[in-house]
Amino acid sequence: MATNREKYDSAFKESFEIEQSDLKDELEYNTIETWDSIGHMQLMAELEDSFDIMIDTDDILTFGTYAIGIEILKKYDVEIL
């Protein structure tokens, strides 16, 4: 059974075609080529699937970095340790 962290990381890796070593708190929207609007929608869909949640409009829009995403998911009772 994958941990929440593993699921969270794998959503990023799958959506942006990046490696584990690329994942860091500062990883930000629009700073890598694959995290554009298309990648962002892909990431939202992956996270919703993995955690069985529906992310609100404001959260989709403010989900700007790897670290902010972890804070946002707390609202959906998803703790990423």
Binding site: S37, I38, Q42, T57, L61
Partner: protein, 466 residues
């Protein structure tokens, strides 16, 4: 006469609204634009590496007013492709963002405006430009091949007149940018609103960026356009629940919106009193070919509507005979002043005049219903729409073949499939095509296949794939 030379009469009206500066009047825009273009000696070819920014727009407006032939490419263009374009078309000038790269040996900087620089070629080769040539645009927006569509002054003028008429564009409109200006659909919004003295809200932020929505709300945007993917984002963002009272109408083009999404938006827009226009077009027709009048958005879901004002549309069978009965499929043919001059593959083609004579075979298969509304039911050509950009499947096959691998390409819109006979190269090919064609990797599926099915003459049997 180019309408860009008549914008002075809008004087103190707001031409642009940007995030950094705020409102910029027509007077100020034209002063800057003419100053940039003042460094160009006479009619020649100039490239603009485009962004949705004041600098980029000012260069474009200036070049238009100076009678320069303009090639537009997106700032995210692949470096190799950009170099290939410079070699093939030999522009005398290139106007581009400071951070973009250009060969300092063959170009010298002659002027700079804010974050943009105007470069002049040091080579003395002169190319012949046909007097009607106004714009060069790629068929796939931000990506793709070195092939350009040649658009004339008449094309641009007829298109803005038609758009202003059927969309009812006035100087009170404030469109907000959602697409690159090098993409024919994005550019048609810019052209048609300048034509009417409207105010353009410029942003490079996409719809998933909160900055886009604050620009829209604070500046009370009245309209925007979107390719199907933008409508998918809008749905995900629960557009129906957003409070956007300034929006008067929105448009959709750049590929077929699926019927379910179209019906949903027709419904949402009706509830919100926003006019919703589904449209159809091609770069080869300057931009627009047909539109579905907004009052039919719910009644004629799936339809591309009727020809734009001034255009004619009909269907032809395989023998080229006109189909007169309703509900019979045939190739969609369009006639109008917005049908472009033809293609260009290098600078020599820029001397050519009108090769299409106002007639365009669209390559799309359509049906016409009893009320005269058209619906696309298929394609004769092998291409896909990837997030609004047209991708030629044969071209992808060629790119992969050039790398030394056998392959076959198929798929659906937003879902390119590459069948490859080398399993080890799956990841490499995926990232190579993604990089070259600027397609997001999540839209590309590379599948291993032991052998590409072919007939005796070597043609790929696409029906046997998958």
């Amino acid at each position: 006469m180019n309408f860009y030379n008549e914008l002075d009469r809008f004087s103190d009206r707001t031409a642009l609204i940007t995030e950094d500066i705020g409102a910029i009047s027509y007077k100020n825009l034209l002063a800057v634009a003419d100053k940039i273009a003042g460094h160009i000696e006479n009619r020649c070819l100039a490239f603009i590496v485009c962004k949705n920014s004041f600098e980029s727009i000012a260069g474009y407006v200036g070049f238009q007013r100076a009678g320069v032939a303009i090639g537009l490419v997106d700032a995210r263009i692949d470096d190799d492709l950009f170099l290939a374009l410079l070699e093939s078309y030999r522009p005398k000038y290139v106007y581009m963002p400071k951070e973009s790269q250009i060969d300092g040996i063959t170009f010298e900087s002659v002027y700079s405006f804010e974050n943009y620089v105007l470069f002049k070629s040091l080579k003395t080769m002169e190319s012949v430009l046909h007097r009607d040539l106004n714009l060069l645009l790629t068929t796939s927006g931000s990506t793709g091949s070195p092939k350009f569509v040649r658009q004339s002054y008449k094309n641009i003028n007829s298109q803005v007149v038609a758009l202003a008429e059927y969309l009812g564009i006035t100087s009170d409109n404030r469109p907000i940018t959602t697409m690159p200006m090098s993409f024919t659909y994005g550019l048609s919004i810019i052209n048609s609103h300048f034509f009417k003295g409207a105010s353009l809200i410029l942003t490079d932020a996409s719809l998933v960026d909160p900055r886009f929505w604050s620009m829209l709300k604070e500046n009370e945007a009245t309209t925007f356009g979107g390719v199907p993917f933008i409508y998918e984002i809008l749905k995900k963002l629960r557009f129906g629940k957003m409070k956007l009272p300034s929006l008067k109408y929105i448009t959709q083009a750049g590929g077929k919106l699926n019927n379910k999404l179209m019906a949903e938006f027709a419904q949402i827009c009706e509830e919100k009193s926003i006019d919703f226009y589904v449209m159809y077009g091609q770069t080869e027709a300057t931009a627009r070919i047909s539109y579905l009048p907004c009052e039919y958005a719910q009644k004629k879901v799936g339809s591309i509507g009727i020809p734009i004002p001034g255009g004619k549309m009909w269907l032809e069978d395989n023998e080229g005979n006109r189909i007169d009965s309703a509900d019979v499929a045939g190739e969609l043919v369009y006639q109008g002043d917005n049908v472009t001059l033809g293609y260009a593959e290098n600078y020599l083609d820029l001397a050519k005049g009108d090769e299409n004579k106002g007639l365009l075979r669209t390559g799309d298969i359509a049906e016409r219903d009893e009320d005269g509304f058209f619906t696309i039911v298929g394609r004769t050509k092998r291409f896909l729409k990837m997030y609004g950009n047209r991708i030629n499947l044969d071209e992808i096959e060629q790119l992969v073949t050039e790398e030394g691998y056998d392959c076959a390409c198929s798929g659906e819109d937003n879902e390119l499939i590459i069948y490859l006979t080398k399993s080890k190269e799956i990841e490499n090919i995926k990232s190579y095509i993604s990089r070259k064609m600027k397609i997001h990797p999540s839209g590309i599926d590379v599948i291993y296949i032991s052998k590409i099915p072919r007939n005796e003459s070597g043609k790929i049997l696409y029906s046997e794939l998958a």
